[in-house]
Symmetry: none
Subunit: 304 residues, 2 copies
Amino acid sequence: MAKTTKVSATHESSGLILHISGLLPSLSPAEQRVARLVVADPADAARRTITDLATAAETSEATVIRFCRSVGMEGYPQLRIRLAAEAARRVEPPDARVVGGDIPPGADLAQIIATIAFNDARAVEETAEQLDPAVCEQVVDAINGASRVDIYGAGASGFVASDFQQKLHRIGRIAFYWPDVHTALTSAALLGKGDVAVGISHSGTTSDVVEVLQQGRARGATTVALTNFPRSPITEVADYVLTTAARETTYRSGAMASRLAQLTVVDCLFVGVAARNRTKARRALEVTAEAVQTHRVGAARRSK
Amino acid sequence: MAKTTKVSATHESSGLILHISGLLPSLSPAEQRVARLVVADPADAARRTITDLATAAETSEATVIRFCRSVGMEGYPQLRIRLAAEAARRVEPPDARVVGGDIPPGADLAQIIATIAFNDARAVEETAEQLDPAVCEQVVDAINGASRVDIYGAGASGFVASDFQQKLHRIGRIAFYWPDVHTALTSAALLGKGDVAVGISHSGTTSDVVEVLQQGRARGATTVALTNFPRSPITEVADYVLTTAARETTYRSGAMASRLAQLTVVDCLFVGVAARNRTKARRALEVTAEAVQTHRVGAARRSK
DNA sequence: ACCATTCTGAAAGTAAGTTTCATCCGTGGC
DNA sequence: GCCACGGATGAAACTTACTTTCAGAATGGT
């Protein structure tokens, strides 16, 4: 019987729309059509009856109901009122900055900056909003109790993995990051009960990372996935799933906002772990800070 | 002639609840009972079915419908979504969270998450706000015209440097990141006019980075500094200075928010460069994306 | 006491939402 | 190439929610 994978359920009142767009790739085609309508204009969707919406999505009512269930709602009326609530909450930014939108061709730098910052900040905020503290807590506990933590990530997610490793190391936790698949597999094979393996992948489909995590799990380690898509392959080999909430654009394929969201989650876990052992962590930080002191040059008035 | 009590229709999105309490005295007793429930807890009312609400108000469904009409709604479902929307709107902003504040000792994870996300998002937004588009433009131009770009950074800033390098590389620009000081110095020594050297340092005092940037400048390269402190040593060896705006806390010495701010700036520069040569950059991105395709596992049907 | 008017809920009626099920389609095994 | 299987899908049956109708009860004026 499976180790019940606990997807951090979008919790309480907010983030449904994000949750839906995260789930989008894992939905069936007909459901995707519904989802797109809903995401495109939640307020409008809330106004429609189920039959109406089904027609607009060129599908049957049954599919709309299936869609409701897929995104974790009981039924259509429930979805409807949640959508209304969310639509009301987001008092859309007045200007024409399409959330998650592409950068218009003729954009000048000022526009580009505004758009990127807007999307990045959003991704961070929304990720935090939908992050389930309970799941985080369990992950923190796992890391805290681990004799060793392995962190995996490829490409852009590799930087995040590396960053996490370095952070844990600075507070005296034994953590590793393996940029190379083979070494990573070897390392994962040596994990055991009480150890923790963290896999980071924006898409959740990076086979290398999934494989390594799988390996770790097979050895009895507690596995954690950090991804943007709660139903992606990586979540199937994870005991705990933490999701980011970045709506990526086409042009910014590097998954830019996603990276920031990942870092935010990493920071939260890090502070969580550090907070568990406050004095020790602080000492460790001070010592490591001192270690690089000689590589600093004078001046720089620290703003307090 | 019936006195069609046409109450000035509550207009558009807001004020329904107020409107209802205004009309309350003019309603019939049974309707008043309904109204009181609704006003007392709109969100709760929105969750109930008409039968449920009728029972709670000790009356019949018919009366609830009459109530809907009395307050200017078409029917119960309409009332329901309006109530949901209003209830959602009236949630106050996330209380006084000290900007840049430390994490309080007794904090639980939910608080930690909120604080970190808040600070991170602020750092990103504020960085974008104070970023000078004109300077960015010049930096973008310099990078765009460079035959080679060197990027330097140590510690946490090293990840950012590395990230920037990888991004530029993905769109076909020749860029390097040197994690090691000696190699970096060697590389910097080989820079020439028309090349660009970028130094990243949160504090602006990392001697390794400053030295290398200095070296690059001496060789005639255009130098760019990315730091949080506009008066720090690194700015003295830079032709262009880009600043982040992160207010760091004491405990979070890892300069967590700063890193996100740096990444945002990097993203802006990157998109700026990419936008200069749109089709070529897009092609390059597509090619590199394809290159990793075989390392993805199925499932997650990507929409379109 | 009587009628007119309004209020009210039961019950009938209609529309919305939900379930079931047969069919279809693509995939993988033989 | 064929077949079995499983998921996806919509038609139709079904259930529940919502709306209307209507007759009785309450009120209030004469």
